[in-house]
């Protein structure tokens, strides 16, 4: 039976949602172990057991820069235990560890996967290319372990029920010149529902014209009990924090309703929200690509449509 490892980064004291999605998939592929990176707790490990993993390798980097010490320890573990496949999420820490581990092992990484299978000891993946416009089917040609970075929400997370796993703590050695430290962590205050879980999302793009106008998005979101989202253009411009970014390098969302205001609809944005059940777009350019996937497209000025929409909802 194939051995599959899942990389699980701790987020708010629990395994990341991404890792639970990967665990659910991994159960179909073989015997599953988890590489858990964070402080760890009985509760966190119990969750991992419920998602079907029998064994946890626990690595706690504390305030050290995660990637180098974790990748070095993991490389030793890989040599000793020879897993066939290691699944990572397309997320920041996952990418950092996967990249360093791959270079250390001389192993190939396939990124942006949305599907993965193991046949006859070789892994096959499907991954997005051209911002998600096309899907490539690829096979690894070398020796295992095969390292795959999977896009969020590619697989639904569902527990299978299982006992608490066996946890083996792993020491993190000194890594010499590659070491670094996390000196402080700044958490931005969050109001309203989380973007990943929200049933309704209101997103804004450069068409809003200025950072101040993002309050139109916030007002509308409040009335709809929605989460607020953004394009990379306005994140990079410093209008809103990265936590709000939807798309290829931001969050992947699947809400009931997604409202995009002043968003052009670049492939890299669409890939993060195209699976919303209903999409409503407001853009003054009738040829904006967002209209090719909108259920209701309003060709109009956000500065006219949004205030009226807000007023109409307030008066209901």
């Amino acid at each position: 039976m194939a051995t599959v490892w899942v990389f699980a980064r701790e987020v708010d004291g629990a395994p990341s949602t991404m890792s639970l999605e990967l665990l659910t998939k991994a159960r179909d592929l073989g015997q599953v172990s988890v590489v858990y990176v964070g402080a760890g707790s009985e509760k966190a490990f119990a969750t991992i057991g419920q998602y079907g993993a029998g064994e946890v390798f626990h690595l706690d980097p504390g305030d050290r820069l995660v990637a180098a010490p974790v990748a070095h320890a993991l490389a030793e573990l890989v040599r000793a235990r020879t897993p066939d496949l290691i699944l990572f999420g397309q997320a920041y820490d996952d990418r950092d560890v996967a990249g360093r581990l791959a270079a250390r092992l001389g192993a190939t990484v396939i990124s942006n996967a949305i599907g993965v299978s193991l046949e006859g000891g070789t892994a096959t993946t499907s991954h997005e290319i051209f911002g998600g416009a096309q899907i490539a089917g690829a096979t690894f040609t070398g020796a295992p372990p095969y390292l795959v970075l999977v896009r969020p929400k590619s697989f639904p997370a569902s527990p299978s029920g299982g006992p608490a796993p066996q946890v083996s703590p792993q020491a993190l050695a000194e890594v010499g010149p590659a070491d670094g430290r996390i000196i402080e962590a700044h958490v931005e205050e969050r109001e309203g529902p989380k973007l990943e879980d929200a049933a309704v999302i209101v997103s804004g793009g450069r068409g809003l014209g200025s950072a101040e106008n993002y309050q139109l998005i916030e007002k509308l979101a409040k009335l709809l009990r929605a989460a607020t989202g953004a394009t990379r253009a306005i994140v990079d411009a410093g209008w809103v924090p990265y936590a709000k970014q939807v798309g290829q390098t931001g969050k992947t969302v699947k809400p009931e309703v997604y409202i995009a205001a002043g968003v052009s609809g670049a492939m890299q944005h669409l890939v993060g929200m195209k699976d919303a059940k209903t999409i409503i777009a407001i853009n003054k350019d009738p040829d904006a690509p967002i209209f090719t996937i909108a259920d209701l497209g309003v060709v109009g000025d956000v500065h006219k449509v949004l205030p009226k929409l807000i007023e109409a909802l307030e008066n209901r």
């Binding site: 820069l65 990637a67 180098a68 990748a71 997320a91 920041y92 990418r95 950092d96 996967a98 990249g99 360093r100 791959a102 270079a103 250390r104 001389g106 190939t108 990484v109 096959t124 096309q134 089917g137 690829a138 690894f140 070398g142 970075l149 010149p177 590659a178 670094g180 430290r181 000196i183 402080e184 962590a185 700044h186 958490v187 931005e188 969050r190 049933a199 994140v235 990079d236 410093g238 990265y242 936590a243 290829q248 390098t249 009931e256 309703v257 409202i259 195209k274 999409i279 409503i280 009738p286 209209f291 909108a294 259920d295 209701l296 060709v299 109009g300 006219k304 929409l309 109409a312 209901r316």
Partner: protein, 252 residues
């Protein structure tokens, strides 16, 4: 301070990308442009090198072609370029790319390597981390702010719910987000000077890197796309249509 900036030439994103029929490799025309993602790295490199006194060297892997993209980065102010072009690099994956870049960078010597967070055409998003491991230095990733003093590099690292202040000693690799600095536009003088700046070329055997590729694309298909619904022109009442749809979907 010796700053090396990874700068990739890519097919112009304004025209649709195509794949070669059998290999499924990206068709790369002779004329490629500087990846917009790397303009931020070049600008950051120029600012840091100027502040500390130093040089900016570009390193770029891929078909050289007309070198338009490299010239763009030189015109911004970089001092020289190292280009690695070799038939064995066609269809290269992230690891081979990183091995080539790391070999060229260590041959050149460096205090700081700057890269983008992901390239526009390939976006594997792991090349900078691989380069760091191969060079045995820290990778400070997803930087929205970078400072260097007394041999220490400190960045603001973008995170899912804010940012972290991360520190390591140089030499190091840093990957920068598109928001980190405002890239300058080349001046006329810059464009003229760029034509005279040195460009070194290397092959795989110069660098002692074997052209091993660990993956093969078997097929490519168009992703399922959803259909457009109705599109209406705002006549002052379009918001009512939105309210109607929201009510129909039971979110209000």
């Amino acid at each position: 301070m010796r700053v090396v900036v990874c700068a990739k030439q890519i097919p112009d994103p304004a025209s649709p990308y195509r794949l070669e029929p059998d290999s499924h490799w990206l068709v790369r025309p002779g004329e490629q442009v500087l990846d917009d993602t790397d303009r931020y790295g070049v600008e950051m490199g120029l600012q840091l090198a100027q502040a500390a006194g130093g040089t900016v060297t570009l390193v770029s892997m891929g078909p050289t072609g007309t070198m338009q993209g490299i010239r763009q980065a030189l015109a911004m102010g970089a001092d020289k370029a190292i280009v690695i072009d070799d038939p064995g690099l066609r269809g290269s994956d992230a690891l081979l790319t990183a091995r080539v870049l790391a070999a060229a960078i260590s041959k050149e010597g460096f205090d700081l390597v700057i890269a983008g967070t992901e390239s526009t055409d390939g976006y594997s998003g792991v090349v900078p981390q691989m380069v760091a491991e191969l060079l045995d230095v820290p990778a400070l990733t997803y930087a929205t702010q970078v400072e260097i003093s007394d041999g220490q590099i400190t960045i603001h690292r973008q995170t899912n719910n804010g940012y972290e202040v991360v520190q390591a000693s140089v030499p190091a690799v840093v990957s920068v987000t598109a928001g980190v600095v405002e890239p300058r536009y080349p001046t006329f003088k810059g464009i003229m000077d760029a034509k005279k700046k040195p460009v070194e070329t290397h092959t795989l055997s110069d660098l002692g890197v074997a052209p091993e590729i660990g993956q093969k694309v078997r097929d490519v298909s168009v992703a399922a796309s959803r259909k457009a619904g109705v599109k209406i022109e705002d006549d002052g009442e379009a918001h009512l249509k939105i309210v109607e749809l929201l009510a129909h979907r039971k979110v209000i």
